[in-house]
Amino acid sequence: MVQLVPQLLRQQLAELAANDERIDGRSRWQSRDVELEVDILYNAEGSAKVVMGDTIVYVGVKFDTAAPYSDRPTSGSLMTGAELRPVAHRKYEPGPPSPESIELGRVVDRGIRESGCMDMESLCIVPGESVWRVMIDLHVLSDGGNIFDACATAAIAALRTATVPAKRFDVGEDFKLELKSTPVMCSYTRVGGRYVYDANEAEELGGDERVHITLGDEGHLHSLQKGLKGVLMPEEFAEILAQAGVKCAELRELIHSKEA
């Protein structure tokens, strides 16, 4: 379903931006309230729910065993899938995964994978024969804007509290999945000509391009993505990167607070 972007909305967002204001009264770098719950779904070996304003996402982690890739015989594998199902918004329609949902899954995947937070070698069962496959599924139930950060936050929280179901697969005792760090994503959207953090539904509808930044524990970059039509200057990026350092640390603290 193609959504109409009313010129009036764009105009209103531009006027607000000129006065350093936002449509829901937040300041430029302020996030909506974030609620995080972990280990909430029976059958998922790791799970988390994130609520950010009108956005609600669930993430589930499942495991199974598979033969390793021949070039990495002792290395487990990671897969991240995303579904933007019609439950999440009237704009989403049923059908095969859309480019938008594939981008979401891949950007979240890269942040986790490239941070090196998972020791893939620890997921080896029998070298060359059998390794653990970690499958993260991002399930958006309500798209009220910024589903990327909601999904990334829920994904790392679900992973950090996941249990590998070794007993069910008859390969030993269950054990906690070990994570060495907590990569966190922060996303910025151009609204009314300037970047803001954690855009809501109206800001995304009447905004332009977005930038996703995933930072590790040391503040290093692990994934970047510019999405949608639009361009930005290096100075603009430097400004949001500095902001991301602060926000990622806050979210990391929230994620750690849910761990037993």
Binding site: L41, Y42, N43, A44, S47, G53, D54, I56, Y58, G60, V61, K62, D64, G81, E83, R85, P86, V87, A88, H89, R90, P94, P96, P97, M135, D137, H139, L141, S142, D143, G144, R168, E201
Partner: protein, 243 residues
């Protein structure tokens, strides 16, 4: 096909079930309405360890045009299990089971929604199963009914999804996962609590007429209990002002 008699022990010596429930006792049920801010109506139902969320969008223009009906709305239901909702991850997307459940759920809802009020339009009902522990189609119907009511769509009645079955030759209310896997019969029903009509009916396994009658009686008893929770969820949502 249900598992055979005596495959596995499902009843304790004192006649209670493995999880301690009496034969005519339901798993705990929790219901909330108005849980998804973006949808026109929504509901969250936890039934035992099952978790279902339903969203309603519409009435909206029905497209493509060929699905339009001149005299009524069409109800477009999607029942979907999240990949992490089952013990083994399931591949995303429709399969034959979810298509059948979507079809019979839509037909059940069409019998209660006043579809003739909205000619040529479509009402979308999205049922997402987040955790599955036997009986998800019933939980989905209950959630969908509350979501429709939460969306303010006129209905003759809501539908309560309930099931009874048979384990070790004994009729029991509300099968859990082990009972569903190893029991001998399953009788899911969609009951209109105000009129007593059935809008949804399936069964598989082996039941005598007497056993059917008892299972049916259990289902009606459970439906009136769940109906109270459905109404309360809608009242709570309305009084929060976000319905």
């Amino acid at each position: 096909m249900m598992g055979g008699y005596g495959d596995i022990k499902l009843l304790n010596d004192d006649g209670t079930r493995l999880d301690g429930r009496a034969v005519d006792e339901m798993r705990p049920v929790e219901i909330k309405a108005g849980v998804l801010p973006v949808a026109d109506g929504s509901a969250w139902v936890k039934h035992g360890l099952n978790v279902a969320v339903a969203a309603v969008y519409g009435p909206m223009e029905a497209h493509p045009r060929k699905i339009q009906r001149q005299d009524r709305a069409v109800i477009d239901v999607r029942y979907n299990m999240a990949p992490f909702s089952t013990s083994d991850r399931i591949r995303p997307g429709f399969n034959r089971r979810s298509r059948e459940i979507s079809k019979v759920t839509a037909e059940a809802l069409e019998s209660v929604v006043l579809v003739e009020r909205y000619p040529r339009s479509k009402i979308r009902v999205e049922i997402e199963i987040l955790a599955a522990e036997a009986g998800t189609r019933c939980v989905g119907i209950t959630a969908a009914s509350v979501a429709l009511a939460d969306a303010g769509i006129p209905m003759r009645d809501m539908i309560v999804g309930v099931a009874s079955g048979k384990i070790e030759g004994v009729v029991v209310l509300d099968l859990d996962k082990a009972e569903d896997n190893y029991g001998q019969a399953d009788l899911p029903m969609g009951i209109l609590p105000n009129t007593g009509e059935m809008a949804f009916l399936q069964m598989d396994g082996d039941l005598s007429i007497e056993e059917y009658n008892l299972a049916c009686e259990y289902n009606y008893k459970a439906a009136s209990e769940i109906h109270v929770l459905m109404k309360q969820a809608l009242l709570d949502s309305a009084s929060r002002g976000d319905a």
